[in-house]
Amino acid sequence: MTELSHIRNFSIIAHIDHGKSTLADRLLEECNAVDNRGQETQILDSMDLEKERGITIKATAATLRYQADDGEIYDLNLIDTPGHVDFNYEVSRSLAACEGAVLVVDASQGVEAQTLANTFLATDAGLEVLPVVNKIDLPSARPAEVKAEIEDIICIPAEDAPEISAKNGINIRSVLEMIVKGVPAPEGDRNAPLQALIFDSQYDSYRGVIVYTRIKQGTVRPGMDIKMMATGATYKVVEVGYMSPKGLQPKDALGAGEVGYITASIKTVSDTQVGDTITSIENPAAEPLPGYRPVQPMVYSGVYPADGAKYQDMRDALEKLKLNDASFVYEPESSIALGFGFRCGFLGLLHMEIIQERLEREYNLDLITTAPNVVYRITKNDGETIMVDNPLDYPDPMEIQLAEEPYVKVNLMAPQEYVGNIMDLATSRRGEFKDMVYLDANRVELHYDMPLNEIIYDFFDALKSRTRGYGSLDYELIGYRPSKLVKLDILLNGDVVDALSFILFAENAYPRARKICEKLKDNIPRAQFEIPIQAAIGGKIIARETIKAVRKDVLAKCYGGDITRKKKLLEKQKEGKKRMRTFGTVSVPSEAFMAVLKLDED
C-alpha cells in the first residue's frame, strides 16, 4: 500500500471542449502510464459515443505513478467524471472520492457556464480546486485576463495557475507538480472498519462486475467477506488492485486513501450501486458513508425496434446494456401501432439518448421511441392508487378522483444579467418561484419548485440558449402534487396512433397539440392521398393539420442503360418504407416520432 502522504486523488473539471480529456491523456503520458506509440486520443473516454460527443458518460479512473521534483514517487489517482445534469449524482460520488480537482479553463474562451457549475460541485464536495489555463499556444490566448476572470468570477486564486497546452504537451509537468503540492493527501485509518465508496462499476464477462472504489477507512484484501451496505448484497473478494491505462493491475490490498478496483464474482451491477459503501462482514463499519441515493429512473419512454422482427435482438441488447448500467430499467410492452417493444426508464433525456444511440450503434438496431414521460400518481374513484408511467395505462377521466405529478426542487445558476430570461423560462414551465440568492457580485442562484415533466423535454437546452450557455441547472425530486392532467391523442387519417399519445398538463394541451400536428406534417411524407392530422382530448379535436397529397413521383425515362440505376432508386425508396410504420393507410417514418420529442427547438 502507498503511504497516505504519497497519494493524491483528483479529478479534472472543465467546460466542454476546454481540453479535459486531452489533458488527462498528457498526464498519463508524462507518467509513462501510456505507451506513446499507436495511442488513440482520449484514453479515458472509452466509448465511441463519448469521444464523438466530447462528453464523458461513465466515470473512469487511472492511477499515475509520478516522480516529483522532490525526488519522491507519488500515486496520482485521476478520477474522470461525467458532465451532464442527468448524471449529477454520479458526478457528486466521483468527486466525493477525491480531495482535489484540476479546473481546466481555455485561455481564449475564459470562464464558461460549465466551468462554474462544475467548480461549485467540487467546492461543495470540499475539494481543493486548482486552476490551469489551457491552449496558451493559440494566437487568441489571453492567459492573464483569463486568470483574472477566474479570480473575479470563481473566487479562487489563479495567479500561479500553470499555463499549458495539453494538445502540444507544453508545461504538463507543472500540472503534475501542482497536484502534488496543492491537492491535500487523503486521510484515513487503515486499521479501522472498512468503508469503501463505490463511484462506478462495470461488467466484465470474465470477472463479473468490477467495482471502482475509493477506500475511505480500513483495508480490503482478497478473500475478505464484504457487504454492500445499502443493497445488502454480500460477496467474497477475489481480487483488488489499481487501474492502469494498460489494464487492471492486481495488488495485495487496498488501504484507506487509495483508489482501485475490487472483483468478487458479482453478477449484476445493480448490486453495486454508485454511492453505496462496501464494508467488511467480520468487522463492519457502524455507518455507511454519507450521500447515497438509490437510483430512480425519472423518465420513461417506449422503445421499439423499427423492424418488428428485431424484438428478440433488442431484448438481448437491453440485457447486455443493463449489465453495465444500473440506472436504466426496462420491461416489455406492446403497442397497437408499434408492435412489441419495451418500456424503459432513464435518469433523464441525455441518458435516454445515450442508451438509444448505443442500441443503434453497438447493436445495430433501428429504433422508434415514444414521447418520454414522468411517472404520474392517479387515485381512482374506488380509492385505488396507481402509478402511471405509460400513457396507454392512463385511466378514463371519469374514473379519476385525483391526478398528481412529480415535482422537483430546481436550482438555477447564472450570471445576474440573465435573471429576467430565466424567470420568464421558469414561469412558462409552471415554475413556482421560491427565492433568489446572490452568490457573489455577479452570480445568482434561483430556486423554483417545478413539475418534473416540464424539465425532462428540453428545459436544459432552453436554459442554455436563454443564458448564452452560462446557466446551469440541478434538481431533486420533492414529491407529488395534485395537477390537472389530460391525455392527448393523435389521429392520422382518423385513426388514433396509440404510440403518439401522451399525458400533459391541461393548460399546455392546446399549444402543444398545435405544435405536434405541425411537426408531424413536416415529417410525414406526402402520400398518394390527403392525410388529416388531428390532436384530440377525449373525443374532442383541438388541433388539425393536413398533409397535401403528392402528385408526382415518377421516372420519366427508363431504357436499357437506366434499368440498373433506376432499380437501385426504387430499391432505396422501398428500403425507406421499411423504416416507416403504417397506421391504417398512413406511413410514418421513425424521424417523425423523434421530431415530436423535440417540439421547442424552433
Binding site: A527, Q528, F529, V550, R551, K552, D553, V554, L555, A556, K557, C558, Y559, G560, G561, I563, T564, K566, K567, L569, L570, E571, Q573, K574, G576, K577, K578, T585
Partner: protein, 397 residues
C-alpha cells in the same frame, strides 16, 4: 451450330448501338457523349464497334434480331457512312429479320437529304427526331444547336426521304415553361402528324450543367409538371395517340418495338461505350469511355464494367417495375407462373390504388396504372416491391 441458323424457333433479340458523339452537349444531358469532331477518334470507334459486333455475333446464333436502335449521342451527327457500315456488320454477324424495326436518333441540325437518302437505302425504317420544344429561346438556353424552324424542316426532309415511321421527342417542365406554352408546343408538333411521340419531364441530373444553376432556372415545380403531363395525355388521346408507356404515345400500333423490349423483359445486346445489355440471364454495362472501349476491343481487354446475374426473385421485381410502366401492366397468371410468388399481396395494394383512381383492372384480368397512377408510379411500385419482399414463394401453382 449452323444447323440452327435457319430455324424459325429463334429467340428475338434487340441490338442497341450507342453513338457517343454530338455537335454540342445539351445542358440537361447525362448520357455519355463527346462534343467535338475528332475524326481519328470516330474512326477508332467505328473500327472497334464493328469488330465487337462481329465477335458477339458468333456467340448468338440462336437469336433473331428483330429490332436495331442507334441512339446516342447523336447518330445523325456521326454520319451516314459510319452508320451504314455498322448496320452492314450487324447484318453480316447476326441473323436480322427482314421486317426488323431499324431506328436511328437524329437531331434537326444534322439531318441532310443526302444522309436520309443513304440511310433509307441501307434499310433504316424509323427515325426518332429530337425536337424538345418550339421555343427557340429555351432551345438556345438548353444548349441545343437548332431552332424549331430547323426541326420542322428536318421533319419534312425525313418524310420526303421515305420514312413512314417517325417519332418526335418533346420535353415538358422546361425553364420558364407554362402549361399554356406546353399545350401550344404540342399543337404545333401535332400538325406534323408523326406516328409516335415521346414526352419527357425534364429531370435535373447531378453532374449536368443545368444541375449547377437549377435554383435559378425557373423550373416548373412538381405540381406544374404533373399538370403538363396530364394535359399532354389528354391532348394526345384526342388526336388518336395511344399512351402505351409512361412517356410514350403511338398511333396505329406503331409503338417502338425496340423500347418495348426494355419494359417487357426482352433480350437485347448493346454495343459502344456505356451501352447496356440484358442477355442470357445477365445484365451488363460496357465501359463508359470511348478510348477505353477502343483499346479494350483492340487488345482483347476487359470492356465490361459491371455484370449482374439476375436471380428470379429480382426478375420478379423488375417485372413489376418495368411492366407497370406500360399500359399492358401485370397479371396474376404471368406473375405466379414466372416467379412462383403469390399475386394476392400485390392485389391488395393495387385495389387500394384503384380506390384512389391510380390503378385499373381490365376485364381480361390485367392491372395497369392510370395517367394519375403513372405520375405516382415510384410510390406505387415501391409499395408493391415491399409487399413482394415479404411474400413467401408459392408451394404449388
Amino acid at each position: 451450330m449452323a444447323i440452327l441458323t435457319k430455324s424459325n424457333n429463334k429467340t428475338p433479340l434487340g441490338i442497341y448501338i450507342h453513338v457517343p458523339f454530338c455537335r454540342s452537349k445539351c445542358q440537361y444531358c447525362d448520357f455519355y457523349s463527346l462534343s467535338s469532331k475528332d475524326d481519328k477518334l470516330m474512326d477508332g470507334y467505328l473500327n472497334a464497334i464493328c469488330a465487337h459486333i462481329k465477335e458477339a455475333g458468333a456467340l448468338a446464333p440462336a437469336y433473331k434480331v428483330d429490332t436495331v436502335y442507334f441512339g446516342g449521342g447523336t447518330p445523325s451527327f456521326f454520319g451516314a457512312e459510319g452508320m451504314a457500315t455498322i448496320l452492314t456488320y450487324i447484318r453480316r454477324s447476326f441473323d436480322v429479320d427482314n421486317n426488323a424495326e431499324i431506328t436511328f436518333e437524329a437531331n434537326p441540325d444534322s439531318v441532310t437529304d443526302k444522309l436520309l437518302k443513304r440511310l433509307r437505302a441501307e434499310g433504316f425504317n424509323r427515325v426518332s427526331l429530337g425536337i424538345q420544344t418550339d421555343d427557340d429561346e429555351v432551345l438556345r438556353k438548353l444548349g441545343r444547336p437548332h431552332t424549331f424552324a430547323n426541326a420542322v424542316t428536318a421533319y419534312h426532309r425525313i418524310r420526303k426521304a421515305g420514312f413512314r415511321n417517325v417519332s418526335v421527342d418533346l420535353m415538358y417542365g422546361l425553364p420558364g415553361q407554362t402549361l399554356r406554352a406546353w399545350r401550344e408546343t404540342l399543337e404545333h408538333v401535332l400538325t406534323l402528324n408523326p406516328e409516335h411521340i415521346s414526352c419527357y419531364g425534364l429531370k435535373v441530373e447531378e453532374g449536368t450543367p443545368l444541375y449547377e444553376y437549377r435554383d435559378y432556372a425557373k423550373l416548373p415545380d412538381d405540381d406544374a409538371q404533373a399538370d403538363m403531363y396530364l394535359a399532354a395525355i389528354e391532348m394526345l388521346k384526342a388526336y388518336g395517340y395511344r399512351q402505351y408507356e409512361i412517356s410514350n404515345f403511338a398511333r396505329k400500333g406503331l409503338y417502338s418495338k425496340h423500347n418495348m423490349k426494355y419494359w417487357t423483359g426482352g433480350e437485347y445486346l448493346g454495343f459502344g461505350p456505356s451501352a447496356s445489355s440484358d442477355f442470357a440471364g445477365k445484365r451488363f454495362t460496357l465501359c463508359r469511355s470511348v478510348q477505353e472501349y477502343i483499346s479494350g476491343i483492340k487488345n482483347q481487354d476487359q470492356i465490361i464494367d459491371e455484370v449482374q446475374e439476375i436471380p428470379l426473385r429480382e426478375r420478379a421485381g423488375e417485372y413489376l417495375m418495368l411492366r407497370l410502366r406500360t399500359f399492358n401492366g401485370i397479371n396474376t397468371e404471368d406473375y405466379e407462373r414466372n416467379f412462383l410468388l403469390p399475386f394476392a399481396p400485390l392485389e391488395d395494394i393495387l385495389e387500394k390504388n384503384r380506390d384512389f383512381g391510380y390503378a385499373v383492372r381490365t376485364e381480361d384480368g390485367r392491372w395497369h396504372l392510370t395517367p394519375k397512377g403513372f405520375l405516382l408510379s415510384n410510390t406505387i411500385i415501391s409499395d408493391l416491391l415491399l409487399a413482394q419482399d415479404k411474400s413467401a414463394p408459392l408451394k404449388r401453382l
